[in-house]
């Protein structure tokens, strides 16, 4: 048996001898490795999921403003449109030969803190998120009647809505607006499954319904003396004169830039068409500093775990001087003592990393359905990515570097002590 092999064979036995402290150190590193890989995974999937908040839609068209502003109000229901666009413009673009479908949306009202969005039943057919996942109904179905509403998963959960419950839309965005459309309530016709997108926090109503509740309104307030009942309104023409924005699906994605240019140069009114993927990337770049902070914090946790290992090895060093001296007496070189200590930190880092990966996958197996249901974030269970392996290699290298200090001290001890420890 070679000397080196004998020295390395001592390492696990020496660690087993100190199994409580060594085990805790391994566990601390495992927790930090699990955390850093877990954060990395969530970060990666959150970014992918964010970039796919809306997918399968080639263009979003609204009044001319900024692309991020349009994205914010049309997709994230944040902020307001500066202007509406005319129904005529919508029709003109929807009828283009290269356009497969166009779904109008109308924003501006709210329901108990949730945004109300007027749209058509096509919305539920064409909207895609994530990896082209369609919207799924947990209960009910898309619009059938003018006063049908479909609520997102968060809305249903927060307000306890079930099929058939009435919904009174408030005019404007105040949570408890004085002016409401109480005379024309909607009825919950469908409840969507969780998506992890702003769809969850949206009350969808028909475009005709939005038009209907506003027929006796002008300029943001009720017309005095004019009262049109829900029954009367059904018989009226409820085609809107204007909408907030619309989503466009193209027959071929290759024509996206050409159509975008055509819409931006629309002569009848100033319009803006954006590619959602590009605008989402711009938005992520704005808010992405949080992700960097998260990554930095998890790296500090790893550093903490490795410091724990350093502490354990250094504090154990003094009581192990006799062990080193015995090895010296039977013929070990100081270099052997160095190797023995460095192999301890290698083994601890390795075991910690392996345990951390195991804990991560166990956590994913347990947590995946819960996270998907609660946050709409689907975390696929896949083999470690190249980035994960890089992180593991970094943790291992950092473990070796940290282990070099106690190993060097042990080396110095064994040179100074020789075969007899002077106490």
């Amino acid at each position: 048996m070679s000397t080196l092999k004998a020295i390395l064979a001592l390492t696990p036995r020496s660690l087993v001898n100190r199994r409580v402290t060594a085990g805790l150190t391994v566990f601390a590193i495992a927790v930090s490795v699990m955390l850093v890989l877990g954060v990395e995974k969530v970060r990666h999937e959150a970014k992918a999921s964010f970039a796919n908040t809306i997918s399968g839609t080639d263009l979003i068209v609204g009044a001319r403003s900024g692309s991020i502003q349009l994205l914010l109000y049309a997709v994230f229901r944040i902020g307001n449109a500066t202007n509406n666009i005319s129904w005529k413009s919508y029709q003109a673009i929807a009828e283009r030969r290269d356009v497969a479908w166009a779904v109008p949306i109308s924003l501006g009202d709210s329901h108990r803190g949730f945004r109300v969005m007027g749209t058509t039943a096509d919305y539920f057919r064409h909207y895609r998120y994530g990896t082209k996942r369609p919207l799924k109904f947990r209960a009910g179905q898309p619009f059938d009647d003018v006063f049908d509403a479909v609520v997102g998963a968060d809305v249903a959960r927060a307000l306890g809505y079930e099929l058939g419950d009435p919904i009174v839309v408030a005019h404007g965005l105040g949570a408890a607006g004085f002016s409401s459309h109480a005379d024309k309530p909607f009825k919950v016709a469908g409840v969507l499954a969780k998506t992890g997108t702003p769809v969850d926090r949206t009350v969808h109503v028909t475009l005709a319904g939005i038009e209907a509740i506003h027929v006796d309104w002008r300029g943001g307030s009720r017309v005095p003396g004019l009262t049109i009942t829900a029954e009367q309104v059904r018989r009226m023409d409820l085609t809107p004169k204007s909408i907030t924005a619309f989503m466009v699906g193209l027959k071929s994605r290759l024509s996206a830039f050409a159509v975008q240019r055509a819409i931006n140069g629309h002569s009848r009114e100033p319009l803006l068409a954006i590619l959602p993927g590009v605008a989402l990337q711009e938005l992520w770049d704005l808010i992405g500093t949080a992700e960097t902070a998260l990554a930095a914090v998890s790296m500090f946790v790893v550093a903490g775990g490795l410091l724990g290992m350093l502490t354990m090895l250094l504090s154990g060093l003094n009581e192990r001087r006799r062990e080193m001296a015995i090895l010296r007496a039977v013929g070990a070189r100081p270099a052997h003592v160095f190797v023995m200590l460095i192999s301890e930190s290698a083994l601890i880092s390795l075991a910690g990393s392996a345990l951390g990966v195991a804990m991560l996958y166990a956590g994913l197996l347990i947590g995946q359905p819960i996270i998907d249901a609660r946050f709409g974030l689907y975390l696929p269970i896949a083999p470690p990515s190249a980035a994960d392996l890089t992180i593991l290699a970094l943790v291992f290298s950092a473990g070796l570097v940290a282990g070099a200090l106690p190993a060097y001290r042990a080396y110095r001890h064994s040179v100074a002590d020789g075969m007899v420890v002077r106490t």
Binding site: M1, T3, A6, I7, L10, R13, S14, V16, N17, R322, E323, I326, L327, R328, A329, V330, G331, A332, R333, P334, A335, G418, M419, V420, R422
Partner: protein
């Protein structure tokens, strides 16, 4: 390897050692010769340079002047790693206490020198078939039953048992020289006598030279020769 060769086992000439330049020398020995197969008792008070002498003989420390030859090899002329290898091949050590790696079994402790010396591993294998078998045989000679001791850590043995395991280790692979440093000081009177009997018997059976260092007077019985470290080390009184 065998200590039965006639001639000189240890030869020190004008050896001087000090910890730092400018310090008084700890060791200053004009000459010390130990014959092969001899059992020598060196009596010296604690702090008289005893430990340093052992480190010099083992090649762990290097004198600033003079030469040390063991079994015909001038170890003072060897580089550090070669001295470590030479120690592994030729010298077995028994210390006062804490001789054993606490988490290894008694047999694994005895086998330890064979990992650092191919020659001793070969000698042990030639004698009993394998180093582990030779370890069991030596433990048996030291009146310890390896099977009864079991695979548990050596730290669980009594002090007397640990010292006997240490002697077995110093003898495995038949090194030419066994150096014992106060191996009995942690033992009580009866155990001590039995231990010395076993040590003499097994060192003689192995044909090794024995250098026994102790601060205690009155333990010279059974040795071929007794030296006082204070007589040979000129700096000891300083």
């Amino acid at each position: 390897m065998s200590g039965t060769t006639s001639g000189t086992m240890i030869d020190l000439r004008d050896v001087r050692f000090r910890w730092r330049p400018g310090d008084d020398p700890v060791i200053d020995i004009a000459g010390l010769t130990v014959a092969a197969g001899e059992k020598l008792f060196i009596k010296g008070p604690s702090g008289g340079g005893k430990t340093t002498l052992l480190n010099l003989l083992g090649g762990v420390a290097r004198p600033e002047a003079g030469r040390i030859a063991i079994a015909g090899t001038e170890i003072t002329a060897l580089a550090g790693a070669r001295r470590d290898a030479f120690r592994a091949d030729h010298i077995g050590f028994v210390f006062q206490m804490f001789n054993l790696i606490p988490y290894l079994s008694p047999v694994d402790n005895v086998v330890l020198p064979c990992h650092f010396s191919a020659a001793r591993a070969a000698a042990a294998a030639a004698r009993s078939g394998s180093p582990a078998a030779e370890a069991r045989r030596l433990l048996g000679q030291m009146e310890l039953d390896a099977d009864a001791l079991g695979p548990g850590p050596a730290a669980e043995l009594s002090t007397g048992q640990q010292q006997r395991v240490a002697v077995a280790r110093s003898l495995i692979g038949a090194p030419a020289l066994v150096i014992a440093d106060e191996p009995t000081s942690a033992l009580d009177h009866d155990t001590r006598a039995a231990f010395m009997d076993l040590l003499f018997r097994e060192v003689a059976a192995a044909g090794a030279t024995l250098l026994f260092v102790s601060h205690a007077a009155g333990r010279e019985a059974g040795f071929d020769r007794t030296l006082a470290l204070t007589d040979i080390n000129r700096s000891a009184a300083a």
